[in-house]
C-alpha cells in the first residue's frame, strides 16, 4: 500500500515538475573504469566540501558580526558560549583548506587527463574561474575573525595587488574600501564572502555541473571511450563517493579535535606587524616567489614582473583548451604534461621553502 502511495506521489510530481527527465539522466549516468578512474572522485569531493562550507558558513552567520569593533568578540563568543560553536568554526576553517586542496587536485588531474578536450572546453573555463573564486573565498574569509595574523596577511596581500601597473592603486582601494585596511575593509570582505562570491559561484557551478551532465564523464586520450568498461553512477559510483565524503567528514572531525583553529589576538591597526607574516598556504608559493625575484629585472620592478607573471599563468590556465593539442603526440615532446609537472613541483617546492626556511 505504501508503494501505491509513493507511485501516486511520483505521478503528481511528474505532472508538475517533470522530474522523470532528471531521474532518467541519473539512472543512465556512467563513469568509465580505467587506471586513472581514481581522479574522478575529486570533482565530487570539491563539491561536497563546498557544501560543508555553505552549511557551516550559514551557521556562523547566525552569530557573526562584521564590524571592526565586534567581529573578534563575536568569533570569541561563537567559540566560547555557543554550543558546538568551536566545532562549527574549526570545521569551517579546515574545510576551506581541504576544499581548495581538492580543487587544485581536481584541476591538475583534469589537466593531465586532458578532460578539457572538445566539446568540454567551457566546462574547463567555468572550472578555472571557480578555482579563482575559491581562492577569493579563502582570502576574504581569512580576514573575518579580525585577529592580528589575518589583519596583516590582508594588508600584505592587498599591498601586492596594489603593485600591478596602472590598475593596481584602483584595485587596492576597491579591495580595501579605502587606502588602509580598516573596518571598512572587513565589512566589504564580508559582503564579498557571503553575497557576491556565492552568487558568482552559484551561476558558474550551475553551468559547470550542467555541462558535466550534458557531456558525460570524459575518458583520457589513452583510453578508447567506446569500449572502456563503465560503472553506473547510481548506486555504484555514488556509494563510493559517499565513502570518500564520509572519510572527508572524519578527517575534518579529527582536524577540529587535534588541531583546533586558534582565536588569536584582536587586530590592532596601530601596532607594528609581527615577524614572519605569511598568507594562507595556497598563496604561499606566489608569496615566496616574490621574495626571490631580485628588486630590478631588466629595468622593471621585480615585484611587478612577478605579479604579471602569475597573472599570465592564470590567463593561460583559463584558455588551456584553446592552446593545447587534443591528443598527445607520440614520439614528440608534449608541452602539457611537462608544464603541468613543472607547475606541481614548483608549487610544492616553494611552499615547502616558505615553511622550512
Amino acid at each position: 500500500m505504501m508503494n501505491a502511495k509513493l507511485v501516486r506521489l511520483g505521478e503528481w510530481l511528474e505532472e508538475r515538475l517533470g522530474w522523470r527527465a532528471v531521474q532518467e539522466l541519473v539512472e543512465h549516468k556512467e563513469v568509465p573504469q580505467h587506471r586513472h578512474s581514481l581522479w574522478y572522485y575529486f570533482g565530487g569531493m570539491t563539491l561536497f566540501l563546498f557544501c560543508v562550507q555553505v552549511v557551516t558558513g550559514i551557521l556562523l552567520l547566525l552569530y557573526y558580526r562584521p564590524s571592526a569593533e565586534t567581529a573578534f568578540e563575536s568569533v570569541q563568543f561563537i567559540m566560547t558560549e555557543v554550543e558546538f560553536g568551536w566545532l562549527v568554526r574549526s570545521i569551517h576553517s579546515w574545510s576551506a583548506n581541504l576544499m581548495i586542496a581538492a580543487a587544485f587536485i581536481h584541476m591538475f588531474s583534469t589537466l593531465f587527463l586532458r578532460s578539457f578536450r572538445r566539446p568540454r572546453e567551457l566546462t574547463w573555463v567555468s572550472g578555472a574561474l571557480l578555482l579563482f573564486i575559491s581562492l577569493a573565498f579563502g582570502f576574504s574569509g581569512y580576514l573575518l575573525p579580525w585577529n592580528k595574523l589575518a589583519f596583516f596577511a590582508t594588508k600584505v596581500g592587498t599591498d601586492i595587488a596594489g603593485v600591478v601597473p596602472m590598475i593596481g592603486p584602483f584595485v587596492l582601494r576597491f579591495l580595501r574600501g579605502g587606502d588602509e585596511v580598516t573596518g571598512a575593509t572587513l565589512t566589504r570582505f564580508f559582503g564579498f564572502h557571503v553575497a557576491i562570491l556565492p552568487m558568482a559561484t552559484t551561476v558558474l557551478l550551475a553551468v559547470h555541473l550542467y555541462l558535466v551532465q550534458k557531456h558525460g564523464m570524459s575518458s583520457p586520450p589513452s583510453v578508447d571511450a567506446s569500449t572502456v568498461p563503465k560503472m553506473k553512477f547510481v548506486p555504484d559510483f555514488l556509494l563510493r563517493d559517499l565513502v570518500g565524503w564520509l572519510a572527508a567528514v572524519t578527517v575534518l572531525a579529527a582536524l577540529a579535535a587535534l588541531f583546533p583553529w586558534e582565536l588569536g589576538e584582536k587586530a590592532d591597526p596601530f601596532a607594528p606587524a609581527p615577524a614572519g607574516i605569511k598568507p594562507e598556504w595556497y598563496f604561499v608559493f606566489m608569496f615566496q616567489t616574490l621574495k626571490y625575484i631580485p628588486a630590478k629585472v631588466l629595468g622593471m620592478d621585480g615585484e611587478v614582473l612577478g605579479i604579471l607573471f602569475f597573472g599570465l599563468v592564470g590567463l593561460l590556465l583559463v584558455v588551456t583548451p584553446f592552446i593545447t593539442a587534443p591528443e598527445p603526440r607520440k614520439g614528440r615532446l608534449n608541452l602539457l604534461p611537462l608544464v603541468g609537472v613543472i607547475a606541481v613541483v614548483y608549487i610544492i617546492a616553494l611552499s615547502a621553502m616558505a615553511y622550512l626556511l
Partner: protein, 422 residues
C-alpha cells in the same frame, strides 16, 4: 582740508582700543621707546595687575594722566607726584607687600587671595637673607617677574606648576652662585630624572609635586631630617602610616636618618623596583642590616615572598592568555587574577611596615587567588583536550559507517559477479 583729515587720523590712531592700558600715559610713551624701556610697556597687556585696572603708577608712583599733550616726562615722573623710579632691590618685597599683605586691598580685586605671602617670606631662608641685605637670594620679582606678571594658574607663568622647577633652577642650578651658600646645584637635574619630574613635566600630571610642594611656597625652607617624612606622607599617606608604626621609625630617628629619603632619595626619586628590597649588594636593606642579623633574615624573607607571588602571577597570566588565544572562555579567571595583582601591589606598600607576618598574610591571599586562576587555566586547556575524546566517539561512528558502506559495495559487486557468472 587734508590737514584736518590727518589730525583726525592721528587722533583716532592714538586712541588705543584697550582703554585700561591706554589710560596710562606711561605705557603710551614707553611703547615708543626702545629695548629695556619698551619692555615693561609691551608686557603690560599680559600683566594681571593691568587686567585688574591697575597700572605703572600703582607701583612706581608718578602721574599717569600727564601725557605728551599736557606735559613732559619730568611732570609725570616727578618726585612730587610720588614717583620712585626703579625700586631698589632691597625695597621690592616691601613694595609688593604693601598691597599683597593687606586684606582690605586684596579683597577688592580677588576675595580669595591669600595675604600671608610676605609674612611667610620673612620666615624663609630667602627672606631672612634678603632682610640681611643679601642681593643674591630670590625675592618676589625673581620668580613672579616684575612686569608681565601672570596669574599662577596661567600655564605661561614662571610659577605655574610645570614651570616652577625651571624657575627655581635659574639660581639653584647655578653652581657658582650656590657655592657661596654651600648648597649643591644638581637638584633640578636629579628632579628631571625622577618619577615626580617625569610625571609633572613630561606627562603634565598636575598632581605630581614640584619644588614648592615639598619645600613650601613663600616660606620655602628645606624640611629637616625629622620632618621630611611628613612631607612625603602628605601624598604617600599609606606608606607613611605604616612606617610610623614600624620599628624603623625609632631606629631611623636614633641614627639621625631621614625617613623615606634614606631609601628613596629626595630630588632624584626614581621608579621603585623589587631590587630595592632584599639582600643583594644593590639592595637598600643591606646598607644597615648585616648578614646573620634578624633584619637581614626578614629582608630576605620579604623579598622571597614578593618574588614568588610575582613569578606565580606571571605564569598564571601567561597560561590564561594562551587559553584565551586558543579560543577558550577564561574571562572569569583573568578577572580574578586582577584581584591577585591588587594583593601584590598592596604587598609592596605593606613593606613599609616591615612586618613580616602582615606581609605574609597579604601575599598568602594573593597566592590563593593566583592558584585558583591558574587551575582554571589548566582546566580550560584540558577542556580543549577533552574535546578530542568527544570527537573520537564521532570518528568511531563515522568509521563504522564507512565500513558498512564498503561492505555494501562489496556485496553489490559480488551479487553482480554471481548474476553474470550464472
Amino acid at each position: 582740508m587734508w590737514r584736518l583729515l590727518l589730525f583726525v587720523l592721528i587722533g583716532t590712531a592714538a586712541a588705543q582700543p584697550d582703554t585700561k592700558v591706554a589710560a596710562s600715559s606711561c605705557v603710551r610713551c614707553h611703547l615708543e621707546l626702545e629695548e629695556e624701556l619698551q619692555q615693561p610697556a609691551k608686557l603690560s597687556s599680559e600683566d594681571i595687575h593691568f587686567q585688574k585696572g591697575l597700572s605703572c603708577h600703582n607701583c612706581h608712583g608718578g602721574d599717569p594722566t600727564i601725557g605728551v599733550e599736557t606735559g613732559g616726562p619730568e611732570d609725570s615722573m616727578s618726585r612730587a607726584k610720588g614717583y620712585i623710579g626703579v625700586p631698589k632691590r632691597g625695597k621690592i618685597a616691601g613694595l609688593c607687600a604693601s598691597c599683597h599683605n593687606n586684606l582690605d586691598t586684596m579683597r577688592r580685586y580677588n576675595p580669595q587671595a591669600r595675604v600671608d605671602q610676605y609674612s611667610e617670606y620673612v620666615t624663609s631662608v630667602h627672606g631672612k637673607q634678603y632682610l640681611k641685605g643679601d642681593s643674591n637670594v630670590a625675592t618676589c620679582t625673581d620668580c613672579h617677574s616684575a612686569h608681565g606678571v601672570r596669574s599662577v594658574s596661567n600655564p605661561t607663568s614662571p610659577v605655574y606648576a610645570t614651570n616652577v622647577a625651571d624657575t627655581c633652577a635659574r639660581c639653584h642650578a647655578d653652581a657658582k652662585r650656590m657655592a657661596a651658600y654651600k648648597i649643591p646645584a644638581n637638584q633640578r637635574e636629579l628632579y628631571g630624572k625622577s618619577v615626580h619630574g617625569e610625571a609633572l613635566i613630561k606627562n603634565r600630571d598636575l598632581s605630581a609635586p614640584t619644588c614648592n610642594d615639598c619645600h613650601g611656597n613663600h616660606g620655602a625652607t628645606p624640611p629637616g631630617v625629622d620632618s621630611v617624612a611628613n612631607v612625603c606622607g602628605q601624598c604617600h599617606a599609606t606608606q607613611w602610616d605604616l612606617f610610623n608604626k614600624s620599628p624603623h621609625k625609632k631606629a631611623f630617628a636614633e641614627n639621625q636618618l631621614p625617613a623615606c629619603v634614606t631609601c628613596h632619595e629626595h630630588h632624584g626619586i626614581l621608579r621603585t623596583s623589587d631590587n630595592m628590597l632584599g639582600v643583594e649588594a644593590s639592595a637598600n636593606c643591606v646598607t644597615c642590616h648585616e648578614r646573620g642579623s634578624a633584619g637581614y633574615a626578614a629582608a630576605e624573607a620579604m623579598k622571597r615572598g614578593i618574588t614568588r607571588l610575582q613569578t606565580r602571577l606571571d605564569a598564571a597570566t601567561e597560561l590564561l592568555h594562551r587559553a584565551e588565544r586558543a579560543g577558550m572562555e577564561v574571562s572569569r579567571p583573568i578577572y580574578d587574577l586582577s584581584e591577585a595583582k591588587n594583593h601584590l601591589v598592596l604587598a609592596r606598600v605593606e613593606i613599609h611596615g616591615f612586618d613580616l607576618a602582615a606581609l605574609d598574610k597579604t601575599l598568602a591571599e594573593g597566592e590563593k587567588i593566583t592558584l585558583a586562576s591558574e587551575q582554571s587555566g589548566w582546566k580550560a586547556m584540558s577542556d580543549l583536550a577533552y574535546r578530542r575524546k568527544g570527537l573520537a566517539v564521532s570518528v568511531v561512528i563515522l568509521l563504522a559507517m564507512i565500513g558498512l558502506l564498503v561492505a555494501k559495495i562489496r556485496q553489490i559487486e559480488s551479487a553482480k559477479a554471481k548474476g553474470s557468472g550464472g
